[in-house]
């Protein structure tokens, strides 16, 4: 990160007092600036999914190579979405601009850019809605000066570019929606704006290419089936070195009890890989002790869904694999790994889009007898719900002290927190597998949690200034517990977090590392027949074992 803005320079820029003047007058001067935007989608990735207007283009160039009738496409696109989504229509009409949301957005807090206030982000779109769709706006626009009075403006190329710039500075985290007296959800508005962009071929590459990979190859990273298997087997070797136990997983096993799906990021990059090893250890333990039969699939090898950041339709196309594979393999139900937006999609969309899952059974933990009533219809259970249930029933033998070097805090990921309410399950697991756990300040956790700053497909390399600015509120709270309690590990249940928070820590709080919850489970779980453990999954000596190393 040598060519990037330094933390001090970034902090110097922060000023929450916006300038005077009408924000609409500044549209023309919006500069799409390196460090703040993501590269344009590659034509071939757009083509794979058969989405419109695949071509090479560059956001920094004047000409975006739009179709001639792009304004008509935008108008029709908005019209259709106003009819299809009550959220969109109501949220276009009822905002009173009270400003309660203004300083709730991590991007506003990190940049001070007034157009990052959620209300204003939405107004970028509402101003066009008032011009083209609202009766009052249409009447007012006929009298001189009426447009300004109505706060309306016509759809121009400059407006489109402003939209593009700012709707790709929203991570759809929904924090503003918690504070809005009407529950206006900026994520919903951003989702619509991005759908419109995709009608014009204006996606970013960090979304479009993973989507294309996921569609063709089964996961965002484009890991082919044999390579996927190789990577897991590589983890198996590492686990064997640490524990002496072979945890080889099964793939595409027909008639298994459970199909397990997790984001491919966990297979690909540290520290997610340690979380992945945690899953393997847990499944080996359950197989050995209780005969639980879990299978992985290379076809449905992606829990995440960047289609969600493209359009509802694309989300559905990628998500379809989960049920399709569960049906083909004839499993009883599906277990999902640690991931943020994956779980919003599963919890709030999957059954509606691709259900009913009547070919699966109501999820029941065969070991504890617990029926997961809250997943009765969708038939997919979150791994922390599953593990918490096992721990509660005393089905796991755990040695907490192996995690004594992890002084933990926990980052609630936006989607499980505000699109699901999965708050206490991961905490329960953490508290049962490690001895040192401290919460960050109350305004920054649970439903008020701050985004990592890189969600909703913005975890690219080229927009690092934006990401680190958006990461500031989370980092600030983390720094607080780091200094106060000596916290050295940020726990999380999200694959994007494991990547994004690691960068965040490196930039803002260098002495803190990131760990998935099931990495800690993997360390603490006492496998049948294991050797005396001296290292954790990161090959670091366990507490009290440092000296033995020296001998």
């Amino acid at each position: 990160m040598s060519n990037e803005i330094k933390p001090d320079e970034l902090l110097n820029k922060i000023d929450y007092a916006p300038g005077s003047g009408n924000w609409m007058d500044t549209t023309a001067s919006v500069q799409i600036r390196p460090g703040m935007y993501c590269y344009a989608a590659k034509a071939e990735s757009v083509q794979t999914l058969g989405l419109p207007n695949a071509r090479p283009w560059n956001p920094l160039e004047e000409d975006w190579k739009l179709p001639d009738n792009w304004q008509e496409i935008v108008f029709q696109g908005l019209k259709e979405r106003l009819e299809r989504f009550r959220t969109f229509k109501v949220f276009m009409d009822i905002c009173v601009r009270c400003g309660a949301c203004a300083d709730k957005c991590h991007f506003f807090l990190g940049t001070g850019d007034p157009k990052n206030m959620p209300v204003l982000r939405a107004e970028l779109l509402r101003s066009v809605y008032r011009n083209d769709f609202s009766t009052a706006g249409k009447i007012l626009s006929k009298i001189p000066g009426g447009k300004a009075l109505a706060g309306a403006r016509p759809m121009t190329l400059e407006v489109l570019k402003e939209w593009w710039y700012y709707f790709f500075q929203c991570t759809e985290c929904r924090r503003c929606s918690v504070f809005c007296p009407y529950g206006i959800d900026t994520a919903e508005i951003t989702i619509m704006a991005r759908e419109i962009f995709n009608l014009l071929g204006l996606n970013i590459d960090w979304i479009a290419t993973p989507v294309s990979n996921c569609f063709q190859t089964g996961n965002h990273l484009g890991i082919q089936p044999h390579a996927f298997k190789d990577m897991l087997e590589f983890f198996v070797e590492d686990i064997e070195t640490v524990t002496g136990v072979n945890c080889t997983p099964q793939f595409q096993k027909k008639g298994a009890d459970i199909l397990f799906i997790t984001p491919s990021g966990d297979v690909f990059a540290d520290p997610g890989t340690y979380t992945c090893q945690g899953y393997l250890i847990l499944f080996q333990y359950l197989k050995e002790k209780y005969g639980l039969d879990v299978t992985w699939s290379t076809y449905a090898s992606e829990g995440g869904n960047f289609g969600f950041f493209t359009s509802h339709e694309t989300m559905k196309r990628l998500n379809a694999k989960m049920y399709a594979e569960a049906r083909r393999l004839g499993v009883k139900w599906i277990l999902g790994g640690e991931c943020g937006h994956m779980w919003r999609v599963i919890h709030q969309y999957m059954d509606t889009m691709n259900g009913p899952a009547d070919f699966l059974e109501v999820p029941k933990n065969p070991i504890t007898g617990t029926v997961f009533e809250n997943a009765r219809s969708t038939k997919m259970v979150h791994i922390t719900e599953f593990t918490a249930d096992l721990i509660k029933h005393g089905k796991l033998e755990l040695d907490k002290s192996r995690n004594d070097d992890f002084i933990m805090t926990f980052h609630d990921s936006c989607n499980p927190a505000r699109g699901m309410g999965l708050l206490d399950e991961p905490r329960y697991v953490i508290e049962n597998v490690c001895n040192n756990f401290y919460e960050m300040p109350p305004n920054t956790i649970r439903e008020q949690t701050f985004c990592c700053g890189s969600g909703a497909g913005l975890n690219a390399g080229e927009n690092m200034e934006l990401r680190m600015a958006g990461a500031l509120p989370r980092a600030n709270a983390l720094k607080h517990v780091h200094e106060k309690y000596g916290v050295n590990t940020l726990g999380t249940i999200c694959a994007i977090d494991r990547a994004a928070l690691s960068t965040l820590c490196e930039y803002w709080v260098p002495d803190v590392r990131v760990a998935g919850v099931h990495e800690l489970v993997g360390n603490a779980l006492i496998l049948p027949g294991e050797k005396k453990r001296t290292e954790n999954l990161r090959f670091e000596p366990l507490p009290g074992m440092e000296e033995e190393d020296d001998e």
């Binding site: 009822i94 009270c98 706060g151 919903e188 249930d389 600030n476």
Partner: protein
Amino acid sequence: MNQKYLIPLTTVFLLFLVAYTGVEGAGLHRFFGIVIPYLAVLAFLAGFVYKVLGWASSAVPFRIPTTCGQQKSLPWIKQNCIDNPDTSTGVCLRMVLEIFLFRSLFRNTKAAFNRNDSNKLSYSWEIFLWIGALAFHYSFLVVILRHFRFFTSPVPSCIKFLEYMDGIVQLGLPGLFISGALLLAATLFLLARRIFDAKVTYISQAADYFPLFLIIGIAVSGLSMRYFTKVDIIGIKELTMGLATFSPVIPEGVGGLFYAHLFLVSILFAYFPASKLMHLGGIFLSPTRNMANNTRAKRHVNPWNYDVKTHTYEEYEDHFREKMIEAGLPVDKEE
């Protein structure tokens, strides 16, 4: 910037003058006392219904509540039944608290950043907007309810009781109604926020100032009639009862100030459905608040769900079969 509030301010002044001079100078009593109020109420009702039906006609494809507390999951984990409801009872409770107590606004915080050695971001509880909003809405509600004394005969005892409670401080003559004073104070506070809080100034539109000035105009003209200029209250009741019973009459001796007050109220009614004031109706239809968080337990149906092109397992296996066989992965078709 100025024009964002100067134009609405001037407009409200002009509207006041139009009615005042229209009655006092041109003698348009019937127009401002009968025609306009009826038209305004008609516009309000028609507009309100049109708007709500418009919202209702849009689909709710997904169940996407914003969850603000622990979900219902394992039986031993305590669910937050209000902020993360999974039943309609919970949703009702959540909605009641939103609608009557502005629960989400109650959470409001104010962020501050100190650029110094510690570079701390801090959040403090920001209660004033919540208090101001509650004071405004409830005092306005009481004022409106009190006005039913002009449209009912005999006046129902609940209205009389409300009036009694509202005037319980027994200050001055005629006795001060708390609601009227509070309405003016709260409106001025909300206006001051828009003018002096830089962030709120920046996001404010003319459409935010106009209803504030309008309500200030209504409150000021109302208060001055009651406490200062005095008006022919018997005559006014004759007029309002005439409107309520659809046998309108124009009494003698009611001055221009009353007609100006009535005109501003009429404008507010007519303007209501075309404006942000429709949040009154919209809050009931907000899907992030009025839906239960039970999508995994109970299937939600999307009325326009359509089939999409997916990449099937067969296509996948056809593409990777050789590599899969070589890696020892099971395949459906060996060849």
